[in-house]
């Protein structure tokens, strides 16, 4: 089996769900062909068994020839051994096919989520994306897995049909025409099955997002006591999923019954025709047994064919969801010919009139905190705007370059699971002293004492094991380690106490000395340390100056930062 993960999972063809499944298959054609080859050998070995048993009964038992009996029994044993060996190799190929498809899909979804970035959570729920990588996953693997057996089914069907044609033209024609006809009869059932399966999947997906909420919201629920209402809601939706499951089940049962009935009709017809031939002496009793064996064997290819159709349908449903996830685009597209950003320059937001001079620490105070976040989004080009950096509008530059140069760190910043070292330096590029310096500047050294294994202590998913204040300081330390040309911090001290805030303010100013930094805040401790303050009212810069100047000259500013009512 090949090595996983893939170095590069490739670029999928998502023009339609079917094309995506086809693309997946084309990427692993070698193992698919291997699986098909052994699938054919495996099923053919089973297909010849009725003939061998028939000959053994005819020549060995009825003929009373011990040597012939031993000979045919030996042949049967060999066929069985071949079947066992081919079977296990086929299985190994099937698993390889399953894993190749599944892991490729996981890596694609993971990679795409990382690529799309900020726009993803706005357009799809976490549950929807994650279910493509969890509950939908088996469907991609299953359809690849079944191809080996499907190939065996097709080949053995053709072989058996020709053996029958050789025995009796009528019987051969019955099989050659009858079996495809059966498939055609079953096919119309597959469409409603697909519709119902899709409805069921959709409901299940929604139910899963509800369950996802338990983990994120359990603390909230526990505080307020909403467990019972939440459970009642889950139970209600669970019952809807149950209803749609029963609807799928009814169709499935019909399909199952037809899979017994239709091939059975076939067996009855074959037995009837061949028994009459046997009475007329045209065929031997052994051949009658063999013919019954063939007709019974043909149920296996037929079952495999419907299984294939079923799994293909489920894979298509899953592929549709994959395509939905893949279709999510980054909120902003890159220009055709991106312009390079200058090294150090003045950042200007024409919409608010904010001017951020290079190499200085600028604070933005707003009368409404949402405005601060919005300005930060514009400065970092998370929303489209006409912000300029030197002579270049951000719009004209490549998104990745903007991200490299201008880092926006806000309240929604996530701390990823892993050792504290990686949480602060996810790129693994800073030296130990730089990490310590950043942690000190963010006034977060106490973390090293609080965590059992210092830098190697594992921080849980989304920094859950940290307090709000600790998380905020880790995020700040991380932003400092990134050393961007322009650092935009949104309310970086909203969750820390006054003592810590004073230390953060001093540390931040020292650490970013000589670099461009923007802070949206209303904390006097922080404002006291910045080079310049821009006071924004109704989305426009109303006044600029130092904190002390503004306190003395602007009444509205005074009210906004000292939180006193007049």
């Amino acid at each position: 089996m090949r090595e996983f993960p893939f170095a590069d999972p490739g670029v999928p063809d998502v023009r339609s769900p079917a094309r995506f499944v086809w693309w997946l298959a084309a990427r692993q054609w070698r193992t698919l062909v291997g699986g098909m080859f052994f699938g054919v050998v495996w099923m053919l070995a089973q297909a010849v068994m009725p003939a061998l048993i028939g000959r053994a009964i005819d020549e060995g038992v009825a003929g009373g020839d011990t040597r012939a009996l031993l000979g045919w029994a030996g042949a049967l044993l060999v066929a069985g051994l071949v079947q066992a060996a081919a079977g296990v190799i086929r299985h190994r190929f099937a698993v390889a096919n399953w894993l190749t498809a599944s892991y490729r899909v996981i890596q694609l979804v993971g990679g795409r989520s990382a690529y799309v970035g900020a726009a993803l959570p706005q357009q799809l729920s976490t549950g929807e994306v994650v279910s493509v990588g969890s509950s939908d996953l088996p469907h991609f693997g299953n359809v690849m897995d079944v191809t080996g057996r499907m190939a065996g089914a097709v080949v053995s069907f053709v072989v058996v049909a020709f053996i029958l044609l050789d025995t009796s033209r009528t019987l051969g024609l019955v099989v050659l025409v009858g079996l495809p006809l059966l498939l055609v009869l079953i096919a119309p059932l597959l469409h409603p099955l697909q519709t119902r399966t899709m409805a069921q999947r959709e409901r299940t997906g929604h139910l899963n997002s509800l369950a996802t909420d338990i983990v994120g919201g359990l603390r909230v629920l526990r505080g307020i006591g909403g467990e019972q209402v939440f459970h009642a809601r889950y139970a209600r939706e669970s019952q809807q999923v149950r209803d749609s499951g029963v609807r799928v089940g009814r169709m499935q049962s019909l399909l199952d019954a037809l899979q017994v009935l239709l091939p059975g009709v076939f067996v009855v017809v074959v037995v009837w025709l061949s028994a009459r031939s046997a009475v007329r002496g045209e065929i031997t009793p052994g051949e009658l047994v063999a013919l019954y064996g063939y007709a019974a064997f043909l149920m296996l290819p037929l079952r495999t064919a419907t299984e294939f159709a079923n799994k293909a349908i489920r894979a298509l449903v899953a592929a549709r969801r994959f395509c939905t996830v893949w279709a999510v685009q980054p909120a902003l597209t890159d220009p055709a010919n991106p312009v390079d950003l200058p090294m150090t320059a003045t950042l200007v937001d024409p919409e608010s009139g904010l001017v951020v001079p290079p190499g200085r620490l600028t604070a933005v105070v707003t009368d409404n905190p949402d405005q601060g976040a919005l300005i930060a989004d514009r400065l970092g080009r998370y929303v489209d705007s006409s912000v300029t950096y030197g002579a270049v509008t951000l719009r004209a530059a490549a998104r990745t370059q903007v991200r490299e140069r201008i880092l926006v760190s806000d309240a929604s910043a996530t701390v990823f699971a892993g050792p504290l070292r990686t949480a602060v330096d996810p790129w693994g590029r800073a030296a130990q002293y730089e990490l310590s310096r950043a942690l000190t500047a963010a006034s977060a050294e106490d973390l090293l004492e609080a965590l059992p294994e210092g830098w190697d202590s594992v921080v849980e998913e989304r920094g859950r094991s940290l307090s709000g204040g600790q998380r905020q300081r880790v995020v700040l330390a991380r932003a400092l380690v990134a050393e961007p040309d322009v650092l935009v911090l949104v309310e970086p001290t909203s969750a820390v106490d006054a003592h810590t805030e004073a230390r953060v303010a001093a540390g931040l100013a020292a650490h970013r000395k000589g670099r461009t930094t923007v802070v949206t805040t209303s904390s006097p401790l922080l404002l006291d340390r910045v080079d310049e303050v821009a006071f924004v009212v109704d989305g426009r810069v109303a006044a600029t100056g130092t904190h002390h100047q503004l306190l003395q000259t602007d009444r509205r500013y005074r009210r906004a930062v000292t939180r006193e009512d007049d």
């Binding site: 069985g80 079947q83 970035g117 006591g225 019954a257 037809l258």
Partner: protein, 593 residues
């Protein structure tokens, strides 16, 4: 990495399966009976064929052939019909059992101690809720009925073999040692191997969920490669587990195949020998051979579904395991006689040996407003969680009306004390869904009732200053919010959480930085309008903004896990302790108005 949630043991799983059977005895009997009849109808084939071969050899008429084939057709139609009803009945039963199981699972998850879930991480619980529920769903829809059918068919086919002649037992028994030895070897190793495999998929989901939820951070910091590597590492671990189970099957499958082959070949040989001695007729040899060969199919399905059942068992064990988390609450049935909340000698640690609180005493007066202040990491939030009965103290007591908070069942506890933190989680659903979860009264569908309810919800939104934006929502209370829906700002999410608290209307409210995401002036305004609504209730407000402290009746200063000082604002300022120092540092600006 993190401590996973427990997994139920085999005994608990079997007990659950039995209780499931006991809960639906009628359905289960019907399913078994229908499948047995369908299998019986399927056994007519070889029997009738043996008869045909026998009569052809002895010379017979076309009329007899037509008659026998006619019976064959009747058996077939019966088998088809019975199959439909049997399958449908098992689907209905399976869906019913599945719904019960996942609802039980969610119910148990909701009762989990918060600390346990946080230690286990999202991935573990998420995989249980999605992949394991799905896996089990698949098993209950397919594996369980298929196994049942295979088992019934196997038993009936063996009976049919022996009916043809006792001698058939000899070749059948020859196959048993191989089947048994191979399967025994496999089953013993399979359980831990499949458990590891499942856990590896849990890790994959967790990594993916983190990437999706932190997508903005990934973009901001250019972590695309780092996240891809994390996904890759999770895939590599999963592949390792898959290789292990594949090895087990590679050994197991061939031994089983031999176990089928030997009886078929031996039946022919033994039958041939007996026929040569004239002990049996050709019809019997034919029927016996066909039955033994026909036995392979159900037997193979039975054994291969064992594999699937094993996986289902693992999933079930993981779902049931959630119920095995030791409860940190021990309801004693005692009722508090008043609303007096008190903490005595409280010590608490998240990690053994590292106490966060070192002996906290706090006596709350009914109806007072207490502000808790102190530096970050001093244990303020932990104290808040203990005062709200979320964690039991390691040492000491937290009581309401002399009854320990963790002695009260959850639903009763919330009438006494509720907690809102700075966490701004918005649940997937409508604004209404997000609010009504705080109401513990039964729902009624009547129009007047729901109009009244809506008025209450709007009232609660008004009390937290949220009326402005709430009225502008595209579909009002029916607007879908949460992951994938209309996006609320963190400040709005906080207001929503507070509106929930207003609706819950407990006697004591613990607010842990509950307005920290609002801008200071709105926060102060909100706190005042909230205070008017909850007038007469006891309020514990944990805050780093000192204006909250200034407005409070008393202030408690928490430092290094103990209450350093407690008293009215003015007294503390006068005493010149650490609060006074904090106050000065906060208001130490020269230009304070």
């Amino acid at each position: 990495m993190s401590e996973l949630l427990p997994v139920a043991d085999g005994r608990a799983v079997r007990r659950y399966a039995r209780s499931l059977a006991r809960r639906h005895p009628g359905d289960l009997r019907r399913v078994v009976a229908l499948h047995a009849l369908a299998a019986l109808a399927g056994l007519a084939g070889p029997w009738l064929l043996g008869d045909l071969v026998q009569s052809v050899e002895q010379g017979t008429t076309l009329g007899h052939v037509d008659e026998v084939v006619g019976w064959l057709a009747v058996a077939l139609v019966a088998q088809g019909l019975l199959t439909y009803f049997a399958r449908y009945a098992s689907t209905v039963l399976g869906e019913k059992a599945l719904a019960e199981l996942r609802e039980d699972f969610v119910k148990n998850s909701l009762a989990l101690p918060v600390g346990t879930v946080e230690r286990a991480g999202t991935g573990d619980l998420l995989t249980r809720a999605s992949r394991d529920v799905d896996q089990l769903g698949w098993s209950l829809r397919y594996a369980v009925p298929e196994t049942l059918i295979a088992l019934i068919t196997t038993v009936l086919t063996v009976v049919a073999c022996l009916f043809v002649g006792w001698w058939v037992a000899v070749p059948l028994l020859l196959g048993v040692p191989m089947l048994w030895a191979g399967t025994h070897w496999y089953i013993r190793r399979a359980q831990p191997a499949y458990l590891a495999e499942h856990a590896s998929y849990g890790a994959i989901s967790a990594v993916l969920a983190e990437t999706v939820e932190g997508a903005r951070t990934v973009e901001a910091l250019g972590l695309q490669r780092a996240r891809r590597d994390r996904t890759g590492a999770a895939v590599a671990e999963s592949a390792r587990c898959e290789r292990r189970t594949l090895f087990l099957r590679t050994v197991w499958f061939p031994t089983v195949e031999l176990g089928y082959l030997v009886p078929t070949v031996c039946t022919l040989l033994v039958g041939g020998a007996l026929f040569a001695r004239g002990d049996v007729d050709l019809g019997a040899v034919t029927a016996a051979t066909l039955y033994v060969q026909q036995l392979i199919d159900p037997l193979d399905r039975l054994i291969s579904w064992l594999d699937e059942l094993q996986i289902a068992g693992t999933s079930l064990a993981r779902l049931l395991g959630v119920a095995h988390v030791p409860d940190d609450r021990t309801p004693t049935g005692r009722r508090p006689d008043d609303e007096h909340l008190e903490a005595q000698g409280v010590r608490f640690s998240y990690v053994d040996g590292r106490d966060v609180l070192h002996g906290v005493d706090l006596d709350l007066r009914v109806g007072e407003r207490l502000a808790v202040v102190g530096p970050s990491g001093a244990g303020k939030s932990t104290l808040g969680r203990l005062l709200a009965g979320i964690h039991p103290p390691r040492v000491g007591t937290v009581t309401v009306g002399d009854v320990g908070l963790t002695e009260l069942p959850l639903d009763e506890l919330r009438g006494h004390v509720a907690l809102v933190t700075q966490e701004h989680h918005v649940f997937v659903g409508t604004v209404r869904d997000n609010l009504v979860m705080a109401l513990d009264e039964p729902f009624s569908g009547s129009a007047s009732w729901s109009a009244k309810l809506d008025r209450r919800l709007w009232g609660a939104l008004d009390a937290v200053d949220a009326l402005g934006w709430a009225e502008e929502l595209p579909a009002g209370l029916d607007t879908t919010i949460g992951s994938g829906g209309h996006v609320l700002t963190p400040a709005q999410a906080q207001q929503l959480a507070l509106a929930r608290l207003v609706l819950a209307d407990p006697h004591t409210l613990v607010l842990d930085e509950a307005t920290s995401l609002l801008d200071p002036r709105s926060a102060r305004h909100l706190e005042r309008s909230l205070a008017a609504v909850v007038d007469g209730r006891t309020v514990v407000a944990i805050a780093h903004r000192l204006f909250s402290a200034h407005d409070a009746d008393r202030v408690a200063v928490v430092e290094d896990g103990v209450v350093a000082e407690v008293g009215p604002h003015d007294d503390l300022i006068e005493s010149g302790g650490s609060y006074a120092e904090l106050w000065r540092s906060w208001h130490g600006e020269p230009t304070r108005t």
